[in-house]
């Protein structure tokens, strides 16, 4: 059993950099590290990919988050059914044959889901990822599946150190409002704080959790900035000498 990586679009890092300046630091950089070399099955050409993998349960907004970061609906999303069956990526060129990839992972925890065998396969794939953005939802509180997945896929502190937890759907935490305001109300901010503390107690993440909303764009810039920060200190991306 393997995972196919399907590239939906190849662009240039300056596209991401125009939205989030922190990504401009990777322009002209080269990617080096074990497992980061990929071969295109159509052309046979090889290239190096620093991968930002989005992981989480089905319906937690992995595709929406990638779309929101990119600034356009490039990956298909669905309000009802699971749509990601493979690893869908957007690749951004840093230098010839060197890419930063946003990778949308198959969701876990759907009905009919075979946890352990899938999770072992994912663990292999994450070894070849530079950053893992682990998505949670502010408006749900069931953690049995996440606890098991986190322990199985990221067993030691070495793997856990590259996991960035992000709390999506902060606009849907109670008390919800249907006004178009992008920032949560003071009451919601209070509940978000409580939620962060709860999640911290349950999952014991290695780094601070980023609260945001892909739907309203709240704190998306902070998420982008943290992702860039994690990529920069991963040791996979090497900036050219000035």
């Amino acid at each position: 059993m393997t995972i196919a990586k399907v590239c939906h679009r190849i662009g240039h890092i300056s596209e991401l950099g125009a939205r989030y300046p922190a990504f401009m630091q990777f322009e002209h950089a080269s990617v080096r590290g074990p497992g980061l070399r990929w071969v295109n099955s159509d052309t046979g050409a090889a290239s190096n990919h620093a991968q930002v993998a989005f992981f989480g349960k089905s319906g937690y907004g992995k595709s929406s988050t990638v779309n929101a970061l990119f600034g356009g609906d490039i990956l298909q999303t669905s309000a009802v059914t699971a749509c990601t069956r493979q690893c869908d990526t957007l690749d951004f060129e840093l230098a010839p044959d060197n890419y930063l990839a946003l990778a949308d992972f198959p969701g876990i925890g759907e009905s009919g889901y075979q946890d352990q065998s899938y999770l072992r396969m994912y663990a292999q794939f994450f070894l070849a990822s530079t950053v893992v953005v682990y998505l949670l939802r502010a408006d749900l509180r069931d953690f049995t599946i996440d606890l098991n997945a986190y322990k199985t896929v990221f067993p030691t502190s070495r793997e856990r150190s590259k996991v960035l937890f992000a709390l999506n759907c902060c606009d849907k935490i109670e008390p919800t409002s249907r006004s178009a305001a992008s920032a949560p109300s003071p009451e919601q901010l209070h509940n978000i704080k409580l939620k962060l503390a709860t999640v911290r107690d349950i999952l014991k993440p290695a780094h601070a959790i980023v609260p945001y909303s892909a739907a309203t764009g709240w704190n998306l810039d902070l998420l982008a900035q943290q992702i860039a920060h994690f990529v920069a200190r991963s040791g996979h991306v090497h900036r050219p000498a000035p």
Binding site: Y60, G109, E110, Y113, A180, N191, R200, L222
Partner: protein
Amino acid sequence: MHTSLADKTNAEFFKRLAQAGVAITPEHKASIERAINHITGYVPKVGVFGKTGVGKSSLCNALFGQDVFAISDIQACTRNPQELVLSISDGHGGIKLIDVPGVGENSQRDQEYDELYKRLLPELDLMFWVFKADDRANASDQDFYNRLISPYIQAGKPFLAVLNQVDKIEPFREWNEEQHTPGLRQLQNIKDKCSAVAHFLRLPLNQVIPVSAHEHYGLLELVDAIVHALPHEQKAIVLHTIETAEDIRKKAALEIERAAVKAAEEAAQKLALAQKEAHLNAQAEALKEHEKRIQELQRQAEEAQRQAEIMRRRAQEESERSYISSSSRREAQRSLGSRILDAVERIPVLGSVVGFFRSFF
């Protein structure tokens, strides 16, 4: 075991629903009352199951029209089954609703609730499983349903799947807050979700009821479905052979594991004894001294680790707090930026106004 709250009830269901703006036709009311009148000689028990946080308690509260069950935005708060009698109309007919603690919080609680559900299920006359409409990570639901609920359905116990919080299904800003009805695209997504749930529970579509407790949407249809699904007379459906092949296999695996652990423990004990003897022979005192020092160093290292952990958590809390507080600052900066832009745009207008006044002089 059960906390009885029966005294707190008795708000008349139809009256309250009408107050909340739900239109009830006389025919509909009569049909529900007829069904209730057919249920004789017993107070039916309805168990409300589902994952934690899907709004089981909120749904029970909405059916009673008052906050009789504790709910929380963040924490799981139903730890023991709570029961309450729902009176449908004056004088006759009551239904006992049992709000059951939800699954999926963590595997330890899931195991406890497994036992609880096994004890509770035989005494129920109707079971329903509540889903959150905008959640599709349903592996926990499916696991409990297949193992515990499904055998009772096959044995003939009535069952309903309830899709709660349909007002939150995307696009969630399209919900009509005045009419308490879904937007067009929401309606389609609700229908699709009902089909998806019916499919994976292997149920007919009419046994999946979309509701929103918060918006009082679909409550009448839910009560209608409840009273029509209930048997007229009490039927005891108890599964005598709950032990399935799966259970037997699991039990065997557990026993093998236990035996292995026991063997390993015995071996370790023997090894420890042998080591002890060897140590006694060779410079017992010096070894003891050495071990003491190691222990002391270990204790110090653990203490340092504990301190480091505390510091790390404090740092995390601090940055999360700053994520929240900085977000409002960044919002404010953005709006200040747009105000400056507006001001710059206004400059040519100002220029022409100045020109206009100049022409007088």
